[in-house]
């Protein structure tokens, strides 16, 4: 087993509802959904975010999309127009979650490492 960042196993999108941010985490490969389900628990997500999330973390499963949905409560400094945060609507909380590391079998890591990053040296048009 070896550690890998979620950015190489899953893509994600986030949004807001008041002071709560949501992060939908979608496995690149359907067969890695179980790995995510086992290891990206609400407890670990809460610990990962530390001071960024004031309240509880809830998790919901969407096996049909091989996705997990997280609600991060009290994460947006009051949310909406009240918040003083640059990311007042939690638009990029998704990418903050993708920094988290989980333990995966070596072959999975070998195959997936780099999946979530733009190819090095490519010309971006």
């Amino acid at each position: 087993m070896t550690m890998i960042q979620l950015v190489d196993l899953a893509h994600a999108r986030s949004g807001d509802k008041g002071d709560t941010a949501n992060v939908g985490l979608i496995a690149y490969d359907a067969e890695h959904y179980e790995l995510l389900k086992e290891q990206v628990t609400p407890e670990r997500v809460k610990a990962h975010f530390g001071s960024m999330v004031g309240g509880a973390v809830e998790r919901f499963e969407l096996p049909n999309l091989h996705a997990l949905n997280f609600l991060l409560h009290n994460a947006l400094d009051g949310g909406g127009t009240v918040s003083l945060m640059n990311d007042a609507q939690g638009k990029v909380f998704s990418t903050a979650l993708l920094r988290m590391e989980i333990d995966v079998p070596q072959d999975v890591a070998d195959r997936m490492r780099g999946r979530g990053r733009a190819p090095a040296g490519m010309e971006l048009r």
């Binding site: 893509h11 999108r13 807001d16 949501n22 939908g24 996705a67 909406g80 990418t95 920094r99």
Partner: protein, 459 residues
């Protein structure tokens, strides 16, 4: 009711401020039956309410009227119907302007404008409170009485019934107030396919279609994380088109030749956007279980969606209330290498010390470094000394407007009285903004639904 086997519902706006050309591309780029335009977000209604307070003719998405003037002839000629919540807090004003725009566009006698109103509860608020509707905040449980004197707008999220009625009355363009975003898409499906409100699974499928449609290009490759570097031609991104069928299944696609990408993954990203409990997605017409959605990638920018299950709606409607809650301002300065972050942090400390010395009281003072920690917070650790540049971003919030005003005059002085290598202040003093806070509440649906009206005006 018509008897179509396939209905194409195109999305043309995902919010007020979206790509102004997108609706035109949708209308002229290929076959569509309906154009749905979503203009409203949580804070939009209060902005519109303020505009109407200054000018009784205002209070709706003004961009919508010149847009319609451009596409009215196309819509009349090809029988494309338009459904939108552009009416904001003034559907009457919007409908009136629209009729005039239609005449200017030369479609008089060929099209009519439908108007849905009655979602605005502002004028009935005291009556509702007096009758025991406390409109408690869904997040805090507090009754609305606590902020009643500061309420700026109150609108109920309404469902598809009035949209269906307007279509039945022959309206070609339907303008609503706070219709729920998804109803702009599933309302036409209910009308065209003759679905009854008790057809929970089909209406729920329509909700999923609406959720995919409501953010425009966010499901067709825009703001899409997966393989973003290879999404083709975002400069002319195709907005989504729902190809709906009477059994509730539908296909997400876009016009041929348009940019962007539609795959299972891009659609999935939009499905999880702003998601709460996926088994219980509540709209005025049905509760949808998003864990029942089945997606099939058909290739060629087509994703088929089926299998959606729904359950009866609740007895309540959500009310979106906005109230004033103090003031805020945000100021920024840019610091350069060497030790960019250390300079910015020092400037932040000096600024706080000065604010304290002036005796200014705020509910919050927040310091972030844009280019280092403003999006990932503590997860990124301490900034390195060789950061080429960083932007100091300081925000304050408080009830005292004068204090916030004074803060805005304390940023520029740092340029000559603080740490060195500072620039980026050319934009002038930060602007003081009045905070419009959001108060979500519930109300018994009959309180609202009995007051909804549908009018149709010929152009």
């Amino acid at each position: 009711m018509s008897k179509k086997d396939l209905l194409r519902i195109a999305s043309g706006q995902g919010f007020w401020g979206d790509d102004l050309e997108a609706p035109v591309r949708q209308v002229r780029g290929g076959p569509i039956d309906y154009l749905m335009l979503d203009y409203l977000a949580e804070v939009t209604m209060s902005i519109m309410q303020k505009q109407r307070a200054r000018n009784p003719e205002a209070g709706y998405a003004r961009d919508f009227v010149p847009l319609m003037e451009r596409i009215f002839p196309d819509c009349a000629e090809r029988d494309i119907r338009v459904v939108t919540n552009a009416g904001g807090v003034n559907p009457e004003g919007c409908a009136k302007a629209l009729v005039e725009a239609g005449r200017a566009a030369g479609v008089a006698g060929r099209i009519s404008v439908g108007m849905v109103s009655g979602d605005d509860l502002m004028g009935r608020l005291d009556e509702l409170l007096a009758n025991g509707h406390e409109l408690r905040n869904m997040e805090t449980g507090e009754p609305l009485e606590a902020v009643r004197d500061r309420v700026q707008s109150a609108n109920a999220y309404i469902g598809a019934a009035p949209i269906v009625e307007a279509l039945r009355k022959g309206a070609g363009v339907i303008v609503t107030g706070r219709s729920t975003d998804t109803a702009l898409t599933y309302g036409p499906m209910m009308y065209e396919f003759g679905w009854s409100p008790e057809d929970h699974d089909r209406v729920a499928a329509g909700v999923v279609a609406g959720h995919i449609n409501e953010c425009g290009a966010q499901c067709t490759g825009g703001n899409c994380l997966i393989d973003w570097w290879s999404v083709p031609d975002l400069a002319s991104v195709g907005f989504p088109i729902i190809e709906a069928r009477p059994d509730g299944s539908f296909t997400v696609t876009k016009h041929e030749g348009s940019g962007g990408r539609i795959t299972r993954a891009t659609v999935s990203e939009q499905i999880v956007y702003e998601m709460g409990d996926p088994t219980c997605y509540i709209t005025p017409d049905v509760i949808t279980d998003f864990t029942t959605i089945e997606l099939e990638d058909e290739g060629n920018d087509r994703v088929r969606v089926h299998g959606v299950k729904g359950a009866p709606a609740t007895d309540f409607l959500k009310v979106s209330i906005a109230y004033t809650d103090g003031y805020k301002a945000v100021g920024t300065l840019t610091y350069s290498w060497p030790d960019a972050a250390a300079k910015a942090q020092a400037a932040g400390r000096i600024l706080r010390e000065r604010l304290d010395r002036l005796g200014l009281v705020f509910d919050e003072v927040r310091t972030e470094l844009v280019g280092w920690d403003s999006t990932h917070g503590d997860l990124v650790g301490d900034p390195p000394a060789d950061l080429p540049e960083v932007q100091l971003r300081v925000g304050v919030r408080g009830q005292d407007r004068a204090a916030v005003e004074r803060f805005t005059r304390e940023i520029a002085p740092l340029v000559l009285t603080g740490p060195p290598s500072v620039t980026g202040f050319a934009g002038g003093r930060p602007r003081v903004q009045e905070i419009m806070a959001y108060w979500p509440a519930l109300i018994q649906r009959e309180q609202v639904e009995s007051g909804l009206t549908v009018d149709v005006f010929p152009v």
